[in-house]
């Protein structure tokens, strides 16, 4: 059993490592892709050499970042098979399709047109080149769409049915999978947050150049596009964040409870704006969940349901099956202990189905099939050893969520001010405090990366212990490997990715530094 726990932990660690490294590069690709395309559009319309120089400056950085995103992305796709082989069979019928569509529709678009974007300036017409730049950005966004559809399905499995004859889930509605509320909110929230990061990156790099008084006109051009994309990104990220919270409350109430460190829920539930969790708090004991907290009345009820009076269940309520509708009537929510019992019964029914199927007993097969489908939503609970196993890591989910929201709020203010300074440069130019502002622009870049990574930690850690919500816990999803093997590959990837990250950051910094010394009002520099 210890070996099993180790394999699960190392497999999770390896996937988390790969995903976090991958996500360091993807949002900049998504954000900067749109920014570069807008800049080239302005060049196409104005025919200004200055805009061409600015476009090429950012395009170079885009290229460096794109390459490492590709390198880390391939591992992620294949790790579903190498480290999560049971998962690959159990839900491959549903999960594989978005991945294949991503390859056919998005990856080829990206990889074909990025070559034209970089090497086609003198080989294709300006209009075709502009189209290629946009298609590269669109390809990257489409790629994000399909992988996020797949991820959203793991958070909220829908449009499928379990087939006991094949021991797997099978898709019954493609549109239910592709257009689920979880998929839509996840896609828009994620991609728009990437626009925010792209915008902040441009503002931060310009801040560094303005600090050294290099290429001021180029910075002003860049800031115009970067700040606008950033502002649009953060405003829409906030709006989609709100819809994400509603979908999480509806489909993953345990995750929401962990995000808030909420053990006992209530009507008119307040939200913790800032707080420190009490490490002694466990489900069932009488400790205060917080050592310190600043709460906003009605906040969580409103955030989760858009009704300030609604009931929001806490961790203990969910474990005990306590919940109420908007009129205060108790809902028929099944306690986790009963879910576990029903899950174990299901496993027995499926085993009986297997025997009946081999014996050719069609009557028994049909009757068992119906019984299995009726209760299948509790299937995964049959693998749990205790109800408490279904609680995610509360401190990690709580603190990353609050960090994300706090930094998100800061980014809103920061980007609006940056936009104001673009149109009213006299406010900042030549002022004593201008250096402070430029430094703030620079520091905001890593802060935004941390914010972005925090969002993913909330989404993925908050789903634990499930690989597929309610259907498959991690310990059942893994491959038949020894912990030593996975540990070895984990460290290999850790070393390789870190070495590549060092090179990536170094090249980008050197490119910015070197090019900032040239005249960015002209091309061929």
């Amino acid at each position: 059993m210890n070996e099993l726990v180790n394999v699960v932990d190392w497999s999770r660690a390896q996937f988390a490592l790969t995903a976090i490294y991958h996500w360091l590069f993807v949002p900049l690709t998504l954000g900067l892709g749109v920014i570069v395309a807008i800049m080239e559009t302005i060049y196409h319309r104005t025919k200004s050499e200055k805009w061409l120089a600015t476009t090429k400056f950012w395009m170079t950085i885009f290229g460096v970042n794109f390459a490492i995103g590709v390198a880390t992305g391939i591992i992620l796709e294949f790790e579903f098979g190498t480290n999560w082989s049971n998962y690959s069979w159990f839900v491959g019928d549903i999960f594989g399709a978005p991945l294949a569509i991503e390859g056919i529709l998005a990856f080829f678009m990206e990889s074909t047109f990025i070559a034209v974007m970089f090497f086609g300036w003198k080989k294709v017409s300006p209009r075709f080149h502009l189209a290629s730049t946009w298609l590269t950005a669109i390809g990257a966004t489409l790629s994000a769409l399909w992988i996020l559809v797949a991820n959203a399905w793991m958070q909220y499995p829908t449009g499928c049915e379990f087939n006991p004859a094949t021991m797997r889930n099978e898709m019954t509605s493609f549109w239910a999978v592709a257009c689920s509320p979880m998929a839509m909110s996840k896609f828009f929230h994620t991609v728009l947050s990437a626009w925010t990061l792209g915008g902040v990156f441009v503002v931060g790099v310009c801040g560094w150049m303005l600090l050294r008084k290099r290429n001021v006109a180029h910075c002003q051009r860049s800031l115009k596009v970067g700040a606008w994309v950033g502002v649009i990104g953060i405003v829409l990220t906030s709006i989609t964040g709100d819809s994400s919270a509603v979908t999480v409350a509806k489909y993953q109430p345990m995750k929401l409870a962990a995000m808030e460190g909420l053990y006992k829920g209530d009507f008119k539930q307040s939200i913790v704006a800032a707080g420190i969790l009490n490490p002694a708090k466990k489900p069932g004991n009488n400790e205060n969940p917080y050592i310190f907290d600043i709460s906003i009345p009605y906040g969580l009820s409103f955030l989760a349901t858009h009704d300030p009076n609604a009931f929001v269940p806490g961790i203990e309520d969910i474990l005990n099956g306590v919940s109420y509708d908007s009129n205060g009537k108790p809902l028929n929510t099944v306690p986790y202990a009963e879910r576990m019992q029903r899950g174990k019964q299901l496993q027995e029914l499926i085993a009986q189905y297997d025997v009946a199927s081999r014996a050719g007993n069609k009557v028994a097969v049909d009757s068992l099939h119906k019984a299995i489908n009726a209760d299948f939503k509790y299937f995964g609970y049959g693998y749990l050893d205790s109800p408490e196993e279904a609680i995610p890591d509360v401190p990690l989910t709580f603190y990353t969520f609050h960090f994300m929201v706090t930094v998100g709020g800061y980014l809103m203010a920061f980007l609006l001010i940056a936009l104001l300074f673009v149109y009213k440069p006299a406010i900042v130019d030549g002022k004593k405090w201008s250096r402070l502002w430029y430094w703030l622009c620079i520091i905001t870049i890593p802060l935004t990366y941390l914010c972005s990574a925090s969002g993913w930690i909330v989404a993925e850690v908050g789903r634990q212990p499930w690989t597929i919500q309610d259907l498959m816990p991690n310990k059942v999803a893994i491959s038949d490997l020894s912990a030593g093997y996975v540990q070895t590959t984990f460290w290999i990837f850790a070393v390789v990715f870190t070495a590549l990250l060092i090179a990536d950051v170094s090249i980008i910094c050197r490119q910015i530094s070197r090019k900032s010394l040239t005249d960015l009002d002209k091309i061929n520099n």
Binding site: A67, I68, T82, S85, D93, A100, M109, F113, F128, Y485
Partner: protein
């Protein structure tokens, strides 16, 4: 033939086609393995910039091949990737180090220096095709796995696919697999020479690559004949209507005979491969060999994949439990999923169309030293 069977066969055709295109596009890796023969900086730069405009296409085809395999035959994905862990991890690592090397090799501040990145490209150039060849060879010569789907109900040992303790390293110790891998390696090196002759306008590169073509082409032909002899003599696993499997002697030779149209395509492909190599060796002014040999490669590999899975043959034979062997029937996605993906696959000709158009526009003129000097984005 019912609709489900038809869909399974259709998707095996798509997988086979993607596999065939991937083998052709591995000329990029073949070209990377050639870097060791071009130590001069400018020559090497010409080669790398020529390959650098194509590497993402190969990479994307590999990723799509994996994604399409996952979507259409998830039990293969589950069994082979989780089982032959080390083999696939080595393949992936070799492609990870490639993905950044083109872009980073000449960039200021790349920390490790140009030679380091060139070495990574050379490693990918040899390891990528060799290991992919070994992985494909296990689909002919078998692998050490068992599949028991009902294991998923056992929480203590829930994995449905189990593998021998070496987890893919044993595949590298099989001479048949290695022979297959080496054949693929020398095929893509041959294709690379033909590609460079067609794509680079430089006398030094031309002369050197023609010389390399003669050597690699000859080695490839010998390895190809030996590999085909081993494949044709190999026993395979066939299955009946209810899925019961049995061993079949000379399985793949039998399949070529029974599906004679595939044998004809195979022979046409072989003739085109040899024609492209032969004419390029014999006629110094001839530079279009890549197209003959490339199309021939696609045809040959396509039929090899098809005889592997069609005609009631298990495309992934198990060496531990013959009944666990993977077939198009027991490893595919559901009829609904295959139907959905088939609708999406209607867009494939459109995708191929724009790739072809862009390739045509980008390769309108051959790469020269002058062009490299006057471009602002080069590798």
């Amino acid at each position: 033939m019912d609709t489900y069977t038809l869909l399974q066969n259709y998707w095996w055709f798509i997988i086979s086609l993607l596999g065939a295109l991937l083998v052709f596009l591995l000329f990029v890796q073949g070209g990377e393995s050639m870097l060791m023969h071009h130590r001069d900086g400018d020559e090497r730069s010409l080669l790398i910039n020529s390959l650098g405009r194509k590497w993402e296409l190969t990479f994307t085809t590999l990723v799509t091949f994996g994604g399409a395999f996952f979507a259409s035959f998830p039990l293969f994905y589950s069994t082979s990737f989780g089982g032959a862990y080390w083999l696939w991890m080595l393949i992936l690592l070799s492609f990870v180090i490639q993905a950044i090397s083109f872009e980073y090799r000449r960039k200021k501040g790349n920390v490790y220096g140009t030679r380091f990145y060139d070495t990574l490209l050379i490693i990918n150039g040899f390891a990528g095709p060799l290991l992919l060849g070994v992985a494909v060879a296990t689909m002919f010569f078998g692998a050490e796995f068992t599949v028991t789907k009902s294991n998923i109900l056992n929480v203590q040992a829930a994995t449905i696919s189990t593998w021998g303790p070496l987890h893919g390293l044993e595949a590298l110790a099989s001479w048949k697999n290695l022979l297959f891998g080496l054949m693929v390696l020398f095929l893509v090196r041959t294709l690379a020479s033909l590609y460079f002759i067609n794509n680079i306008d430089d006398e030094t590169v031309f002369v050197k690559q023609r010389q390399l073509l003669k050597v690699n082409g000859a080695i490839f032909v010998v390895l190809f004949l030996a590999t085909m002899a081993v494949v044709f003599l190999q026993s395979g696993v066939i299955y009946d209507e209810i899925g019961v499997t049995q061993l079949q002697e000379y399985c793949y030779l039998r399949n070529y005979v029974e599906m004679w149209w595939l044998a004809i395509i195979f022979l046409i492909g072989v003739a085109m491969v040899l024609w492209g190599i032969g004419k390029s060796v014999m006629v110094p002014a001839y530079s279009h060999g890549i197209w003959h040999t490339g199309i021939g490669t696609v045809l040959v590999v396509l039929t090899l994949f098809l005889v592997m899975g069609y005609d009631n043959t298990a495309y992934y034979p198990s060496l531990l439990d013959i009944q666990s062997s993977l077939t198009l029937r027991n490893s595919s996605s559901s009829e609904f999923t295959l139907t959905v993906m088939s609708i999406v696959s209607i867009l494939v000709p459109f995708v191929v169309g724009y790739i072809g158009y862009c390739w045509y526009k980008m390769d309108d003129d051959n790469i020269t030293r002058d062009e490299l000097e006057n471009t602002d984005h080069k590798y």
